[in-house]
């Protein structure tokens, strides 16, 4: 088997990389393929929490690299999906515990075992990021429609494009879009961000309080029905599998009875 290694990255911290990694992993596994989630944020481990697996972690990625255990021993099986595994980061080490060559070797081994290997990259553009992208075949860049996040995403896109021999494809996910704010022209739209960054779009994820709830429960939203951010991540997973899925209609999300009422009383735009 030769799977695909996809790195999830953003440059700026706090835009939703880990949430995206967990949700894309769960959504892909739900479609039936085997998935390994790799937490490369060494020293700041979080992916295990989002997956609700923090109590099951025995070994970690650094243990594998330093040969204290076999790769299979370090993989933590998901609670619900038998075809989904997590390779946790070490919490007590730092980014220097792994180098790019070791990461490449690890990715090659994981690729032989899984259909998809999703690597959650740390924030920043330093060694941690460089190691995270070392074994990647594809990149997914996460941004929010805020200027600082878009600027950092641009930097990351530049760095990824410079390695196009290894990273064959990269696409953008615009996270935490607030349709109402776009409508009132208080926030950049999906089109604005795409125009500025000139990059292919993989998905749009609307701002959703359910994300906070799901993190607290340790159950990614993409595993739950009737959650709009969960649907967005399931669509992303289908697109990663090559399906042509139309992008979410953000205006439709706006059509609650309150907005309909406001629209009724608002003068028609000239």
């Amino acid at each position: 088997m030769s799977g695909r290694v996809i790195v999830i990255t953003s440059g700026k911290g706090g835009v939703g990389k880990t949430t995206a990694s967990a949700n894309i992993g769960v959504a892909l596994a739900t479609t039936g393929v085997s998935v390994a989630l790799v937490d490369m944020d060494i020293g700041l481990r979080n992916l295990d929490i989002l997956m609700g697996l923090e109590n099951r972690v025995v070994y970690n990625l650094v243990d594998v690299i330093e040969e204290r255990c076999k790769l299979r021993q370090a993989l933590v099986k998901d609670k619900r999906l038998p075809n989904l595994c997590l390779l946790p980061a070490a919490q007590t080490r730092d980014k220097t515990a792994v180098n790019a060559d070791q990461m490449k070797t690890l990715c090659t081994e994981l690729k032989s075992m899984f259909d998809f290997v999703i690597v959650d990259s740390p924030a920043g553009i330093e060694s941690g990021f460089q190691n995270a992208i070392a074994g990647a075949d594809e990149g997914v860049i996460i941004t929010t429609p805020e200027m600082s996040a878009v600027r950092d995403a641009d930097r990351i896109i530049g760095l990824i494009e410079a390695r196009k021999d290894e990273i064959k494809d990269h696409r953008l996910v615009i996270n935490r879009i607030r349709p109402q704010m776009v409508k009132t022209n208080d926030m950049m739209s999906v089109e604005d961000v795409l125009e500025i960054l000139s990059v292919k779009l993989l998905g749009i994820v609307p701002e959703d309080e359910e994300i906070i709830i799901s993190t607290n429960k340790g159950e990614p939203v993409s595993g739950t029905d009737n959650v709009r951010s969960g649907l967005a991540y399931r669509n992303i997973a289908r697109r990663l599998r090559g399906e042509d899925v139309p992008f979410m209609d953000l205006d439709a999300l706006n059509n609650t009875w309150v907005t309909k009422l406001v629209k009724f009383f608002t003068p028609v735009r000239a």
Partner: protein
């Protein structure tokens, strides 16, 4: 007034457009690793060179960077009044 503002807010494109314009300019400079005053000094030098050959209309001179995919293009427009030769 507050209520009226809220109703009419969607007509004002300024915040979104301003963010987009700032963003575009910032990224062009980022991508070229161009310090902010560099462009102004290039403009001055170019005007000086062109001015040796032509009298130019400084009022309508346009000089800026435009985005073309992920690259930038330098677009200069020097309206010429008459030749100095």
């Amino acid at each position: 007034m507050q209520v009226l503002n809220w109703f009419f807010r969607h007509r004002d494109e300024s915040v979104r457009v301003r963010a987009k314009d700032r963003m575009r300019l910032m990224l062009i400079h980022d991508r070229l690793e161009l310090p902010p005053d560099r462009l102004a000094s290039l403009e001055e030098e170019l005007i000086a060179v062109v001015s040796r050959y032509f009298e130019i209309d400084r009022e309508t001179t346009r000089f800026d960077l435009q985005q073309y995919e992920r690259r930038a293009a330098l677009v200069a427009n020097f309206p010429l009044l008459r030749s100095k030769c």
